[in-house]
Amino acid sequence: MALPPHIVAAPPGPAAARQPVYALVGNPNCGKTTLFNALTGLKQKVANYPGVTIEKKVGTTYSQHGQPITVIDLPGTYSLAARSPDEAVTRDVLLGRRADTPMPDRILCIVDATNLERNLYLVHQILDLGRPVIVAVNMMDLAVKAGLNLRLSRLERELGVPVIPCEALHGKGLIDLRLAMSRPELPLSRHAWDVPTAISAAVSELQAALSSHDRKPPLIARAEALLLLTDQDSVRVAGSTPLHARTAEILAQWKNRWAGDGTDWAATLVNSRYAAIQKITADVVLRAGATGPNRSDKIDAVVTHPVWGWLILGSVLTLLFVSIFSFAETPMTWIDDAFSALADWTRGHMGDGDLRDLITDGAIAGVGGVVKFLPQILILFFFVGLLESTGYMARAAFMMDGLMGRVGLNGKSFIPMLSSFACAIPGVMATRTIEKPRDRLVTILVAPLMSCSARLPVYLLLISALLPSESVPVFTKAGIMVAMYVVGTVGAFFFAWLFKRTLLKGEPPPMMMELPPYQRPELKVVVTQMLDRAWSFIRSAGTVILGISILLWFLAAYPKAPEGATKQQQIEQSFAGRAGHLLEPVIKPLGFDWQIGIGLITSFYAREVFVTTMSVVFNAESEKDKEDTKPLRDAMLTAKWPDGRPLFTPLVCVTLMIFYVFAMQCVSTLAVVKQETGGWKWPIFQTLYMTATAWLASFIVYQGGRLLGF
């Protein structure tokens, strides 16, 4: 159906009078943010859309004559039929539904050259708006590699708007794009497509209502009418102007009439749009050679195979953890020796006194206890970076989707949960892409159960105490580590299943996920990401961990015991010791004493503080040969209960690890959960259920182990 003759596009007048505003829109993974960064450089401002936790990124670029142009980077979406809060923001800004963001003067649509047909669906919807549009066809290099020949001049003719080829990653095509953006006048699209006749009456009536009641310009009203008739429009976000009551009534009447017909007119409308797009792409996209499976398809046939896929995933994870133990051992010994030497040197050059003890038993022991795990953290993030940059991580998500669906989790929950292996904070924030609020909340509640990198030093310390012999095969240690990650993941799945059947009932929507082509890993990117993580770890050790170590030393050294008291007596009557004793009745059934209790209290701030606490507590206890600082593991292994029984038995080490798998010991994560859920109700619930689970699971492991004779 061609545009009705009485409808004329609104002239882009305001754009000429003030700094023009471009909205950048595109599908996820089309290179939109790369292009935004390339266009605006560092001239960016990041804030939130009022009322929602969705980033509003605004930047400035310059026309060919040096005049500033405002660019808004809108969240990626496959269609204007929004399925998640961030997609709803894109839809609302483009339709002028947000009072906090004026409707952009012009729209820059980024499309992925390797997947033109799918990307054009959004472009097609945007052209309906009758705004000045530029289409940037990104990743042209990948399209050429894939054997695609894109006749962009034909695409330009079909769409009636400027079409610019580019490679945002390599800065190619940006000059042409800037030139197009600098044009004072842009042609308006003259595209036309056949809306089924049976639907056109509904479109016209709704369009008229939107024009008269909601005061929408004619073309925007038509585009919105088409959208409302195909969209469930279930996602409404704060700041979005609601429909006028009369318009909503007309919409409901048409939907009811269609429901009575028994014909899925909404699907018919979507299909007719796809038919129009297919007609365009058939003329524009030429494929060289055979159209059979490409290299990525062939690899995927094995990597996502129901049997081989799981074997490969298991092997990859095993290799990762074996590497963590085998490659990191030597540099860890170096770091340990260096900190021991530094402590010994300090002791040799300072007289007895509190400052010397603070430096050696507090600062050096506390910081050294955490920094020694740096090599293992480097290896972990190097492997994670490799897997991400090759494209394997998306396949792992694909493999897990079926499993997640069985426990009622949304397929989109996989990425937040995978991110939580590094840190629960980005994991919780990544849940913003999940459409249904209940699914999102379930994912937020279970994401911290995935073993984050802060648990790594705790696991490593306890595994070294569990298996102190150098002759223990590295596979055994790696196996225990993998087991902890598996226990956390199974726990997350169990609680997701439980919450979806009790507190937060609801069916998850089907997942749509894009599998990027396999590619050679960009070593520079992988190493940069790894070094960023390492620097963050060192910065944390040099600031927060150092501060906590100093404070812990004070709490373990004061109030002073009477003259002649042993170190054990000193720490026992210190502030830390008293707090540990206060907690001991609760944790004794788990096999933990007051000294471990001190660690449990302090590590509520962050899990890795447990290692620092053990360093401070047990170095303070170490009496023999004051010139030689004992490695923490050995100090822990000599620790005893008052009746002489060893404290860190293998069973206690396993129980402690289980406790840390489930316990919510991270203040920063709680703060982010509060921010994302809009209150303290859910973070408090999360802390309670995770701590209770940690206690119960530890109790079962310890008491069960004792019954079995361990």
Binding site: K43, M350, G351, G353, D354, I425, S453, L546, G547, S668
Partner: protein, 52 residues
Amino acid sequence: MSPPLQTLLALAVVALAAIWLARRALVKKKTTGCGGDCGCDAQKVTARLKQH
């Protein structure tokens, strides 16, 4: 350095550390999210943006 002077200095360091940690925990963050604590590059981006 005499033991009493060492005690005085040690307690001063402890007080400074306590004040710094308390201030860090209590002062409201201007930005949302982790602020880069988790190893993401949020702090780096913010710093760069401030320079310009």
